[in-house]
């Protein structure tokens, strides 16, 4: 592994040069009370001091509204067109290590089996620049799901803020290439001990106890009671860095149109509803259970990975203040 340093005063130039060379830089930006990943047009727009963005940067590889293909109707013939690949590289700048781990999960999910054309098209084109957490809040629980606040999983480059500037770990070839392309902003440096720059994220639950309980948790009798405040807004899933469910919808007129895939969530009642009206997950508590079990059990069975990365977004965003941490603790307590 190679290590670099980018001086505090250089980071601005670095970002602006990225933009100047036509790269699309996705970075945290303040909107009202919250911070969102947004396309940045200059470094000033970036909110560098934030604990967690309201939404993850998953839209970089899985946009909320994506063309699967377009079609033109020509008499009785239909012409199908693949969507255009993005021309420019995308840089996801300043994402938290939990999000990095989430991108790692997304890559597994989308590419391991039946590789997804659209995801790959964007994923290959995206460079992930992580940023070590120097602080956390009571909703952060990455350490409880086996991720550390300086985890480099899923990142191409990992930045850690130090007194001298940003300490850069070059994790992948992609990351290395980027550094080489913009070499003049980087200084060579030896590996350092990141510990003192890294936040201490407390364990919020006992993951081994959870593992024990979760496989039989489908029939747990308290799902209904613990999920009563949930009114099914789905914000947890939309803001989740690892939620991947989508819907496919056409928009067309008589001349042609587009088949889109758009974000969807199992939190909505209509998600599983059959045309006949039968709904396998009729109640919100069942949908809530599905989400929890999906995060902590189903993907574990499927890929051997938990799909909760402990980013805490679902807790911060929940209008009814439901907490996945409390939920998991309730399950482990029985």
């Amino acid at each position: 592994m190679e290590y670099k340093l980018i001086k505090l005063e250089k980071i601005q130039e670095f970002i602006n040069s990225l933009i100047a060379t036509g790269k699309q830089v996705l970075a945290p930006k303040q909107k009202k009370e919250k911070v969102f990943f947004s396309l940045i047009h200059s470094f000033e727009e970036i909110a560098m001091d934030y604990i967690q963005t309201a939404f993850s940067a998953k839209s970089a590889v899985f946009p909320k509204c994506e063309e699967l293909y377009t079609f033109e109707k020509n008499g009785k013939e239909t012409i199908l067109n693949n969507p255009q690949a993005p021309e420019n590289d995308t840089i996801v700048f300043g994402m938290r290590p939990c999000d990095g781990a989430a991108f790692d999960y997304l890559a597994t999910f989308f590419l391991k089996e039946n590789p997804d054309y659209h995801f790959k098209m964007r994923y290959d084109n995206t460079i992930f620049v992580g940023l070590t957490c120097s602080s956390g809040d009571e909703f952060c629980f990455c350490s409880s799901v086996g991720i550390s606040p300086s985890d480099t999983r899923g990142s191409d480059l990992m930045l850690t803020k130090t007194e001298n500037g940003y300490y850069v770990e070059i994790i992948t070839e992609k990351g290395k290439k980027l550094v080489e392309q913009f070499a003049n902003f980087f200084e060579q440096i030896e590996q350092i001990d990141k510990t003192k720059y890294v936040a201490n994220i407390q364990k919020r639950f006992d993951s081994s106890a959870l593992k024990e309980k979760i496989s039989g948790a489908f029939d747990w009798e308290r799902w209904e009671e613990t999920s009563l405040p949930c009114f099914g807004c789905g914000t947890c899933a939309f803001s989740c860095p690892t939620c991947t469910c989508f819907d496919i919808q056409d928009e067309a007129n008589l001349l042609g149109g587009t088949r889109y895939r758009i974000w969807d969530t199992c939190a909505l009642g209509i998600f599983t509803k059959h045309a006949s009206g039968h709904n396998p997950r009729e109640k919100q508590s069942e949908r809530w259970r599905n989400r929890i079990l999906h995060k902590f059990l189903y993907t574990d069975e499927q890929f051997g990975i938990l799909s909760c990365v402990g980013c805490g977004r679902c807790i911060r965003n929940c209008p009814a203040e439901l907490s996945i941490i409390e939920q998991v603790n309730a399950i482990t307590e029985g």
Partner: protein
Amino acid sequence: MSDLINKTSQFFSSGIIDLFIGYKKGRLGEGKPAFFTKPDQLSELIFDENCIVNLAVYLRKPELKKYSKIGILANFGTLRALLQLAAENQITDGQYLILTVADGKVLEFANLKAIEEYVANNLPKPNPERLALLKEIESKSREERWDFWTRELSSCIRCYACRAACPLCYCEQCLVECNQPQWVGVPPTGLGNLEWHIVRAMHLAGRCISCGECEAACPMEIPLGLLTQKLNMTIISNFGQIPGTKREPDYALSTFKVDDKENFIR
């Protein structure tokens, strides 16, 4: 607070209710929705001006069907929502035990009529900050307004949290889920988003009880409450109807006056 807890626990012990929907302390000290099934849980029950979630939204949950009688601790918005729901035939008089706390005293409403009177006597003035914000937007040029809303609404991810949080969005099939024909584009393009927010605002015009839950629930910080607020103001000033103040149907858009004023019809 002890008065509230005592009273509520009496309702439990006398078997009047078997579920109580109220609030407990949330992460920032504000009230968060809480469901109490036993009197010994009630020590956590709180009520103050920071308990803003509209609890009426929960009444449609199928999970609640198994309870024989439900008590609800209603803030002002919830009271209005209950009236509006009654006017729309969704709840009946006496179906719920309805409490509120006013001036430190617990009030139990004997019936919807009592709520009607209480609401009539306590209708708040519109929030001046909101009015100022609305005014600011209205004072922009047509193009600026279009630009403003296009940008704001393009953020919408169509999670429908605004709908889920609204106590009056109780349709079994929302218009966006109607696909024959597909009235509103489902993909969150700028167009689909605009259509959705127009539909939402129009459907709540004359029905919105101004609790603000839609905007509070919006994860994208879209000021969508301004749309419903504006339409409500239009309804009140043109037709004199204030939603959520009557227990009988009173809907400006299902009635008319021969001399309704307009200035845009040629």
